[in-house]
């Protein structure tokens, strides 16, 4: 259901045609707000640069790698994820109230926001399009195995699945199970095994290769 602005023109949705060309609409909005002295275009550049280069899923992967390597950190993460994650320098917008949820041999965790697009920006950066789109938001809570299969993840039939619907201001980070064969790896190497999707729950941590 996600489209780029170009698609709208071709599909002819019954949209207010103000929004048929998003590039032009947003440029006009930025111009008007700049003329009024309400925004600073350089601030927009700084925001974009932050989320393109500083805040992304590598942050979360460092949290996971440390949780795998350091039992004390893991316990801290379970007891007070916001503080434990802040100790690595990851704080702020959409990470103010963090919770870590741990995959086990018995239970797989999957995070969704059925009502909007709540997502732990401080550790995962900006959410991917699919996370914000109706297909995922509607189905994760009722047909998680179907959804996971579309990511190529097929869980054992007896595995329990726990869905965390982010309906309040708590933001969830899935700590995947540590892959077998990774004993002795340092945190830096371990973090390369942790994908964004593994921290949402739509993938497992990568196998050691």
């Amino acid at each position: 259901m996600e489209h780029h602005h170009d698609d709208h023109e071709h599909h002819g949705h019954h949209h207010d045609n103000r929004y048929s060309d998003m590039q032009a609409r947003v440029r006009a909005l930025e111009t008007v707000l700049s003329e009024k002295g309400l925004i600073d275009p350089a601030a927009i550049d700084a925001i974009v640069e932050t989320y393109e280069t500083k805040i992304g899923p590598r942050n979360g992967a460092r949290v996971v790698a440390k949780a795998w390597s350091d039992p004390e950190f893991r316990a801290w993460l379970a007891a007070d994820a916001t503080a434990a994650i802040a100790s690595l320098g990851f704080t702020g917008r959409q990470g103010e109230h963090m919770r870590a949820v741990f995959n086990t041999p018995e239970t797989h965790n999957l995070v969704v926001c059925t009502l909007c697009s709540c997502y732990p920006w401080a550790v995962l950066g900006l959410p991917p399009v699919w996370y914000k789109a109706p297909a995922y938001r509607s189905r994760a809570v009722i047909d998680p195995r179907g959804v996971l299969a579309e990511f190529g993840l097929v869980l054992a039939e007896e595995k329990k699945i726990r869905i965390w619907d982010s309906t309040a201001e708590l933001r969830y980070l899935v700590i995947p199970e540590r892959p077998a064969g990774t004993e002795g790896m340092d945190e830096e190497t371990l973090s390369t095994l942790v994908s964004r999707d593994a921290m949402i729950g739509t993938a497992l941590a990568g196998a050691a290769t």
């Binding site: 259901m1 489209h3 949705h13 601030a43 927009i44 932050t50 704080t91 702020g92 809570v141």
Partner: protein
């Protein structure tokens, strides 16, 4: 409100379409949309609950066919108009036509790092003690307010178990409408898949929501 945003359990949207190596932005305007939304949020004229409610009020056919950044921009224009900063007519014309309301703050480039690092914590201290404790059985209320709520339709009038007391937080149902923060205790409530979806539910499934205390009744 029972708006188009309340998607849990709806059908017909087709498969999820993950995009390998997805870029952070799919067009230049998406970058500006992100920055404009955050910059205007910094005015201090509305809160996150009011902005979520503005998004929910986009007509269903439009909401469901719009990209998320388009949803943000449509809602942002509503908020800018409502609070006297800019009108859609001005944006149509591409230039300012009236003197805007005065924001509490203009987000300049030098403030960005600090503002993003602070975020917007919405936990608030409460004198009262929580009504529920982990292990308590509760039922969610049944209601259909036309106003903002964070109790999804699929989880109304359902029986579940308190798993955790998460702290006390701003109550969005009031805060979205200018009725104050009215903090309440928030709980993680777990439901069996069968309680929510009935016949044919995945027997291995449990679903949790985070629920404000007034969403819950003791069993």
């Amino acid at each position: 409100m029972n708006g188009p945003h309340d998607l849990g359990g709806q059908m017909g949207f087709g498969p999820v379409a993950p995009e390998p190596n997805e870029p952070y932005f799919h067009a230049e305007w998406e970058k500006r949309a992100l920055g404009l939304t955050l910059s205007c949020g910094a005015f201090g004229a509305w809160n996150i609950d009011e902005s979520r409610h503005a998004r929910e009020n986009i007509p269903p056919a439009t909401y469901l066919s719009a990209s998320y950044y388009e949803i943000w921009i449509r809602a942002l224009e509503t908020l800018l108009e409502r609070h006297g900063f800019a009108s859609r007519t001005e944006v149509d014309g591409g230039h300012r036509a009236f003197e805007p309301a005065v924001p509490k703050r203009v987000l300049t480039a030098d403030l960005v790092a600090g503002v993003l690092a602070r975020g917007g914590p919405c936990d608030r201290p409460l004198e009262s003690t929580p009504l529920f404790k982990p292990g308590d059985r509760v039922r969610t209320i049944n209601f259909n307010p036309e106003t903002h709520t964070r109790l999804p339709r699929y989880a109304r009038a359902k029986t579940g178990t308190i798993e955790a007391v998460q702290g006390s937080f701003v109550f969005p149902d009031a805060n979205a409408h200018g009725h104050g923060e009215n903090p309440q205790w928030v709980y993680t409530v777990v439901f069996n898949g069968e309680e929510i979806w009935g016949q044919g539910a995945d027997p291995t499934l449990t679903v949790s929501i985070d629920a404000w205390e007034s969403y819950l009744e003791r069993l």
